[in-house]
Structure formats: structure tokens, C-alpha cells
């Protein structure tokens, strides 16, 4: 186990975490502002990946694919918000869970109907493929490094958007007191649609970016959705800063746990048993992390309210 390998795994963990952040940021904004639990967020991730794969396949341009992912997911998000989600704000969590679960069924089967059950492939463009040598002699894929950079840039953009712009002020005000900002003359319905579309676009972007590493298929969004839930529970629902920290924690735990726990177990038991026990523990590690955080802080690391 060399230092280079460890450094590579840390980078992988960062890359995974930053993609989770894109997904979880939308989820936490939507919950923070509208008080809505959106299980269908994973479907928007999938929509983004499919838009990117379809457009990149037709035009041959990866960048156009990304633009399509952003636009397609934002559009799907806005549409769903106007047709269905809008009617759910006043309802309790149970109804929200059910209705958005129903949306998952509709999105997944609809996509299967349009594109079939076979996975699509989204190729990494020529200029981003191949490895790059980092300081210290670490060989690392350019594309994954690009994902980290894009993710960090988007995260910075999001912090600026929330912290410095007019719409950001409205979003923060919406998190604190919905009735009050409606009374102050802000079109709350429009704000909700914008926030939802923004969250959807982030999810779609994540889907398209990850889609080039993995295959693009129906049901790809749900495993990520659940990890995103773990992220926002750890970070504290509604907090963007908490989400970023939670996402990096989960990404690193997941990636490093998969590598190091089997090795660690080998100290205590026979190699074959160690591999299987280590793999079991690694797959559960992030949930153990979440349980631990909630025992110490029931509203997450940066959560203000229950």
C-alpha cells in the first residue's frame, strides 16, 4: 500500500464527494426553501444523463451534451414543479414521499419506454481522456480531475449565488419565513419554480458528468439519491455548507473504506475472510457514520432545526 495509491484513492473520494454535492445541494435547497422531500431528485439526475447521452451521441459534442443535460433537467424540473410538486407544499411529508415515489415510477418507466432497457454510453471527449501526471508522480485521469474542478467551481458559484445575489437573498429569506417574503411582494410561486429548476439542473449536470464514467441507464439515480439523503442528513438539512462537508465526508468514507477496511481486517483474520468482512463493513460504513453523527447531533452537523 503505497502513498501514491492512497493519494489516488483520496482524489477518487473527492471526485465522488463533489458529484454527491451537486446532487445533494439541490435536494437541500428544495427542502430548505419549500419544505419538500423530493424522492424524484434521482430521476432528474437520470434525465440529465440521458439528455447528455442522446445529444452527445447525435452531435458528437460532449459540451453540447452537458448543455442539453442542464437544460433538459431544468426544464423537466420546472415542468414537474408546475404540474405536480406545487400541490404538495401544503401537504405532510407522507404525501410528499408517496407522490414523488410515484414520479420516480413514471420517470423510470417513461425513460425505459423511450430508450429501452439497454444502457447508453456517453464517451469522455478526446481532449479530456488519458492520464495526467500530478506533482509527486501520481498518474490520474484528466477527466476525473476535471470533475473535481467543475464541482468546486459550481460549489463556489452556488455560494456566491446564495450569498451575494438578489435571488440568493430571496432564497435565504424563503428558508426563514415563507409567509413574510410573500407578504413583502415577492412572487413566491415563481421563486419556488426557480429553486426547483436550479436543483434539477445541478442534479442533471451531476448525472451527465458521472454518466461518462459509468453507464447511462434507467434506475441510475436512486442509489445516488439515497447517498445524497445521507449527505444532507449528516450536513444538516437546508445548509449548503453542511452539504459540502457532508458530501466530502461520505465520498471519502465510501471510497477509502472500500480499499482500507479489507486491508485492516487482514491484521485480525485470514485473508479470504478479511476481504469479505471488510467489503461488508465498507458497504455499511457511511450509514454507520450517519448514525454516529445523528447520535451526537440529531439535526446534523450544521442543521439549525428539526
Amino acid at each position: 500500500m503505497s502513498l501514491v495509491l492512497i493519494a489516488e484513492q483520496v482524489l477518487n473520494g473527492l471526485q465522488f464527494g463533489i458529484m454527491l454535492f451537486l446532487m445533494a445541494a439541490g435536494l437541500t435547497l428544495i427542502f430548505g426553501v419549500m419544505g419538500l422531500i423530493n424522492l424524484a431528485h434521482g430521476s432528474l439526475y437520470m434525465v440529465g444523463a440521458f439528455c447528455a447521452a442522446a445529444v452527445a451521441g447525435a452531435t458528437g459534442s460532449f459540451l453540447l451534451g452537458l448543455v442539453a443535460a442542464l437544460a433538459g433537467a431544468a426544464l423537466a424540473g420546472a415542468l414537474v414543479e408546475i404540474v405536480v410538486i406545487r400541490r404538495l407544499y401544503a401537504k405532510d411529508h407522507l404525501d410528499q414521499v408517496l407522490a414523488t415515489f410515484a414520479l420516480i415510477l413514471i420517470f423510470s418507466e417513461g425513460t425505459r419506454w423511450l430508450f429501452g432497457s439497454f444502457p447508453l454510453y456517453l464517451n469522455v471527449p478526446e481532449y479530456l481522456s488519458g492520464p495526467v501526471t500530478l506533482p509527486g508522480g501520481i498518474e490520474y485521469p484528466v477527466y476525473r480531475l476535471t470533475l473535481i474542478v467543475i464541482g468546486l467551481v459550481v460549489a463556489l458559484g452556488l455560494f456566491l449565488l446564495i450569498g451575494k445575489t438578489r435571488i440568493g437573498v430571496q432564497i435565504r429569506a424563503g428558508e426563514n419565513d415563507r409567509e413574510m417574503i410573500a407578504a413583502l411582494g415577492i412572487d413566491i410561486g415563481r421563486l419556488y419554480t426557480i429553486v426547483f429548476a436550479l436543483g434539477a439542473a445541478l442534479a442533471g449536470l451531476a448525472g451527465a458528468l458521472v454518466g461518462a464514467i459509468q453507464s447511462v441507464q434507467v434506475g441510475m439515480g436512486e442509489p445516488v439519491l439515497i447517498l445524497a439523503f445521507v449527505v444532507i442528513v449528516i450536513g444538516g438539512i437546508g445548509s449548503i455548507k453542511g452539504t459540502l462537508i457532508g458530501a466530502l465526508l461520505v465520498g471519502l468514507t465510501q471510497t477509502l473504506g472500500g480499499i482500507f477496511l479489507p486491508e485492516l481486517m487482514k491484521i485480525f483474520m485470514a485473508p479470504s475472510a478479511a476481504t469479505s468482512v471488510g467489503a461488508s463493513l465498507a458497504s455499511m460504513a457511511i450509514y454507520v457514520l450517519m448514525a454516529a453523527v445523528l447520535i451526537v447531533r440529531p439535526t446534523g452537523l450544521f442543521g439549525a432545526r428539526a
Binding site: V84, V97, L98, A102, L103, I106, E109, S283, Y287, M290
Partner: protein, 327 residues
């Protein structure tokens, strides 16, 4: 008799007459479908105790369903493979007897529900939904990576487990057994509903502060409800595994949790027979729509949306036009 009482009685009569007819007509498949209905209804009755009575929106009940399933799978597997489950402190070869398996499933699910409840009930609202979901995933991934019991492929049990005095391989006898279990649990749930505990739990859902003010502890009430709820769903899991003679990680999946919850909502949250009606409608839809189209989930999704957005109190609510008795 109230209108809801009449609907409930009709549902029970249906559950006797339809399999009875199927038995005389030789429609074995219908009996199997009815058994599926009864077992899924049992799982949902379990969830309804936490959800309807306690207001605990658990999106992780597949944990208990899967635990029940794996209890049956593991106990029966060791008999099937002639490998004792453990040899110390005494030799235990596993068991193929349903009552023993049920007891084990109920105890294990209840213990697990106690531990999970202890952790999860520290949170509420959205956090509770997400953390129960995450616990479900934890068990799901664990079952996938646990290669000793089939891992991703699951475990097949070739011969259905036995019940004293019955031939459980005969579909109608197995149906009768499952139906009796459901009726007993429904009776238990209705007693629970009206007991002092049930009233206190109801109150804790509606107004925790007042319950605390009269000297009760909402946390203890909720934890007890969660344990009972988990135990019932665990029992359903053991039966479900026996119906299919197969257990797999799919029983732990979050889609399973979602499905159990759909059954409750479709029928009507907090209604005694809501889960039963939900299970009948769900299995019927699965069967009818599944025949019509490969993409039947779209129609299921649309139907669910309609029920959530426009029908108050689920299907039973739509028929009786009254709010659930405890509201």
C-alpha cells in the same frame, strides 16, 4: 354498523370467498395471488401501526420484512444443507417448523426495531424518513455482500416449511394459515388501537407537548409502537419467504419499503383495513396492468399521484367518505 365496518366485513368475506371459489374451480394461481395479498397486507398492517397510529413515516420497513425473510432462509437452509447452525453451547441444526421460525423472526425484528428505533426516534420529520431509509440501505448492502447466505443471488429453500397438522405444500392450506395469521393480527391491531397505549400513542402523534404535560413520554410510546410494528412486518417477511421459497436482498431494498408504504396509503392511513384493501388493489393492478403493458409502473405511478393529490383518506376514505376514526 358504520359504513367503514361494512366495507371491512365485505373485504374479509372477499378474502374467504375468492380463494374458496378458486379452490373449487382449480385456479391454483389465483390462490397464490390471494396468499400474496394476505402476506403483503400483513406487512402493511405492521407499518400502519407505526405510520397510522404513531405518525412515524418509516421508509425503512423493508429491514424487518427482509429480516423475517432471512430468518426463515437461514434456519431452513441449515437443515437443508445438513450443516448445523451452531454447535456450541448445544447442537442446533436449524429448523423447518413454521412456529419456531415465526417466533425467531418476530423476536429478531423486534430487537432490531428497538435498536433502530432508539437511534432514529431521536430525530423527527424529514430526518426520520431519511434515516430509516438509510438503515434500510445498510441492511440491503450487508445482505448483498454476505456471501455465506447467497449474497446477491439469495437463498432458495426447496421445500416449504411445515406447520403441525397442515400440509403447507397445498396452496389452499397455506393460504388458510396466512389468512388466520392476518385475522389474528388485525384483531390485535384493533385492540391496540383502543387500548390505553393506543390512545396515548394517538395523542403523542397529534400533540406531543400535551402528552408530555400529563406525564407520559412520547419517546417511549413511539419506540414501543415502532417495535410492535417491526415485529409484525418481520412475521410477514417470514411468510413471504415461505410463499416464494426464496429470499434475496430484494426484500431489503428501498423499493420494498416504498411498496409497503404504498399499500398503506392506497388503502388509507390509520384505517384498520386500509393495508388490506391496499394490498388487494395493488396485487390486482400488478396482475391486470402487468398483462396489458410491460410499462405498467407508469399507470401505477399515475394512479398513486391521483390518490395522493385528490383522494383524502385513501380508497377506504373515498368509499366511506369519513375521516379515520382517530382523527
Amino acid at each position: 354498523m358504520t359504513r367503514e365496518g361494512i366495507v371491512n366485513a365485505l373485504v374479509l368475506v372477499c378474502l374467504v370467498l375468492v380463494p374458496g371459489w378458486a379452490f373449487y374451480a382449480g385456479e391454483t394461481f389465483t390462490i397464490t395471488l390471494a396468499t400474496r395479498v394476505v402476506i403483503l397486507a400483513l406487512a402493511a398492517v405492521g407499518l400502519n401501526i407505526a405510520l397510522g397510529l404513531g405518525g412515524l413515516v418509516s421508509l425503512g420497513h423493508a429491514v424487518f420484512f427482509g429480516l423475517g425473510g432471512y430468518t426463515m432462509g437461514i434456519l431452513a437452509y441449515h437443515v437443508q444443507a445438513y450443516e448445523p447452525l451452531f454447535e456450541w453451547p448445544f447442537l442446533f441444526e436449524g429448523t423447518k417448523s413454521m412456529p419456531a421460525i415465526w417466533l425467531a423472526a418476530v423476536v429478531l425484528s423486534a430487537l432490531t426495531a428497538f435498536v433502530i428505533g432508539l437511534l432514529c426516534l431521536r430525530t423527527s420529520g424529514a430526518y426520520f424518513i431519511m434515516i430509516t431509509l438509510a438503515f434500510g440501505q445498510m441492511f440491503y448492502f450487508f445482505s448483498i455482500s454476505w456471501s455465506a447466505y447467497g449474497g446477491e443471488d439469495g437463498l432458495s429453500i426447496y421445500v416449504r416449511n411445515g406447520f403441525p397438522g397442515l400440509n403447507t405444500l397445498d396452496p389452499i392450506q397455506f393460504y388458510g394459515l396466512c389468512f388466520c395469521v392476518l385475522v389474528v393480527v388485525l384483531w390485535f391491531a384493533s385492540r391496540l388501537n383502543r387500548s390505553r397505549f393506543g390512545l396515548a400513542l394517538n395523542a403523542a402523534r397529534q400533540s406531543p407537548e400535551r402528552v408530555e404535560a400529563v406525564g407520559l413520554r412520547p419517546f417511549h410510546l413511539r419506540l414501543t409502537a415502532f417495535v410492535i410494528s417491526g415485529a409484525v412486518t418481520g412475521l410477514a417477511g417470514a411468510l413471504f419467504a415461505d410463499l416464494n421459497r426464496f429470499v434475496s436482498p430484494a426484500m431489503f431494498s428501498w423499493q420494498m419499503s416504498g411498496e409497503i408504504m404504498i399499500l398503506v396509503i392506497l388503502g388509507g392511513v390509520g384505517r384498520l383495513y386500509g393495508p388490506v384493501v391496499g394490498a388487494i388493489v395493488f396485487v390486482a393492478l400488478e396482475h391486470v396492468l402487468g398483462d396489458l403493458s410491460d410499462y405498467w409502473h407508469i399507470y401505477l405511478g399515475l394512479l398513486l399521484l391521483t390518490v395522493v393529490l385528490f383522494v383524502r383518506g385513501g380508497l377506504i376514505g373515498a368509499v366511506t367518505g369519513r375521516r379515520a376514526a382517530h382523527d
